[in-house]
């Protein structure tokens, strides 16, 4: 029993730990829509992988990275605002990928699994790959934390102070692309943004500094993971939605606790 569950549990833990800080940046920089667009393009990656008959994992990662890079270019200029661009790309790729997956993978592919997660399909090889990426990302966030916060506050000021703003912004987008690609198995394309945003939102009420918020978000994501996986094991719920529902529950608790605090 344990051998079957070991890889899914480890995958979940690594993703939850990364979702904390990255989710904070999504909330601070208002990138929720960007996260959605990435998740949908991950689905497009699945379709590409099917059609070209290459590894789905690699194809997902590839299409997320391409979208992140092209969005970084688009965001700067143009007549349409960035959220309009995101809307077009995001839902365009969702529609395209559903069509492609239904046509190319009819009968072979579990579309449901890609939309809502299929954690039990995680293998130990996945765990090793994900952990390696996570360590690199974690080190980057740790080392450049202050610079990243400066960029959130005022990009011009950050530039004058000698921070390589464009490079950091691109790296942050790539980091979010990576975690999106990695979380496909855990919660599926439709719920990835929720997994990133909700723990960070719950952490806001208790945090006094950006670092604290990231740590509390990590803890909250881990607890949601625990509750969700237990519920899924115990009552046979779909794992991804169970995790997100647990995260929402924690969010509700954190909000009501602040309301009580204010009432005192």
């Amino acid at each position: 029993m344990l051998e079957i569950l070991l890889a899914p549990i480890l995958t979940g833990i690594v993703i939850a730990l990364l979702a904390g800080p990255l989710g904070c940046f999504i909330v601070w920089r208002r990138l929720a829509y960007f996260g959605d667009a990435l998740a949908h393009s991950a689905l497009l990656g699945v379709a590409i992988g099917l059609i070209l008959q290459v590894s789905t994992q690699l194809a997902i990662l590839f299409s997320c990275v391409i979208l992140a890079i092209s969005l970084a270019q688009i965001k700067q200029h143009g007549e349409l605002s960035s959220d309009t661009w995101l809307g077009v790309l995001s839902h365009g790729s969702l529609a395209l990928s559903i069509i492609a997956i239904s046509l190319a993978g009819a009968g072979r592919v579990d579309l449901y699994g890609y939309l809502f997660g299929d954690l039990l399909s995680a293998s130990l090889v996945d765990v090793v790959l994900i952990s390696a990426c996570a360590v690199a990302l974690g080190l980057y966030l740790w080392r450049c934390w202050d610079s990243l916060i400066c960029i959130c506050l005022n990009e011009d000021l950050a530039r004058v102070e000698g921070i390589a703003v464009s490079r950091h912004k691109l790296l942050l987008m790539l980091a979010i692309a990576f975690i999106t690609a990695m979380s496909m198995k855990l919660v599926g394309a439709l719920l990835i943004t929720a997994l990133l945003i909700i723990p960070a939102a719950s952490a806001r009420s208790f945090a006094k500094s950006p670092g604290q918020m990231a740590l509390i978000a990590m803890a909250s994501a881990l607890i949601a993971l625990g509750i969700g996986m237990y519920a899924s094991y115990q009552w046979d719920m779909p794992t991804g939605p169970a995790i997100v529902a647990a995260a929402c529950m924690l969010f509700g608790l954190s909000k009501s606790s602040t309301i009580f605090k204010q009432a005192d």
Partner: protein, 252 residues
């Protein structure tokens, strides 16, 4: 002492999408001198200042800065999202490795040591300006660049801020470049005024500029008489602080 050249720009032109934002502008910034950049909205003030800091691409002309020039920049505002929890002290300590003594000294000069533990979101306009000024000072700047430093401050707060800037200039012997559109205060706190409307209309000593025909054309006689009112008020500023405001209200 005051002739140390910090930054020189010559013949700067900046175009964007077929529009001329800055046209053939030249200026010199020296240590110990306060230069004010004034002009109507859309005159290209902020673009010019951002170009001087290397944030905007220049189409013509050149900028030469003295070697290893430390610039302290005070932006107009921060993109403070309510979801980012950060205290004043937390903000000032970001990427900061200067020693504690210098840190506290800067906090004292800009009068922010009493609001260290407050969340950044709770600051008033004046407090935020002082925090931003403190952040600029922490870098031990040779050149302070302030973008609309008095924005959103009341008359009292403006007077205090400009006094503080003049005091800093004397204390650190740094050069100061500030962007502004409130004329009468700027005129008194400045060694040189540059009047910008895409091109540099006129520049020089405040008294001289305020009589310049180009300046009058740009701001109209109404504003110009405000300046005259100010020169009158200048005598009072050395007196009691509160009196100045009362006088001002009286005149209007």
């Amino acid at each position: 002492m005051s002739d140390i050249l910090l930054l020189e720009a010559s013949g700067l032109s900046i175009y964007k999408q077929g529009r001329t934002l800055v046209d053939n502008a030249s200026l010199r910034l020296e240590a110990g001198k306060v230069v004010s950049l004034i002009g109507p909205n859309g005159a290209g003030k902020t673009t010019l200042v951002r170009a001087l800091m290397g944030l905007v691409e220049i189409n013509e002309g050149y900028i030469s800065a003295s070697k290893g020039l430390q610039i302290g920049y005070m932006p107009q505002k921060l993109n403070l999202d309510a979801s980012l929890p950060i205290s004043v002290k937390g903000f000032l300590s970001l990427n900061q490795n200067s020693n504690r003594e210098h840190f506290l000294h800067c906090a004292q000069i800009s009068d922010v040591d009493c609001i260290f533990s407050r969340p950044m979101q709770s600051l008033s306009g004046g407090e935020l300006q002082r925090v931003l000024l403190c952040r600029a000072l922490l870098k031990k700047p040779q050149l302070l660049i302030l973008d609309e430093p008095a924005q959103g401050l009341d008359v009292n707060g403006q007077a205090e801020l400009y006094q503080l800037i003049a005091q800093l200039r004397d204390e650190l012997n740094c050069g100061v470049l500030m962007v502004s559109h409130d004329l009468h205060f700027v005129m008194a706190a400045t060694d040189e005024v540059i009047c910008l409307n895409q091109h540099i209309c006129c520049h020089g000593h405040p008294e001289k500029v305020s009589a310049h025909p180009e300046y009058l054309k740009l701001f109209g006689h109404n504003q110009a008489s405000n300046v005259a009112l100010y020169t009158h008020r200048h005598d009072h500023q050395h007196g009691v602080h509160g009196e100045l405001i009362e006088n001002c209200n009286h005149k209007h």
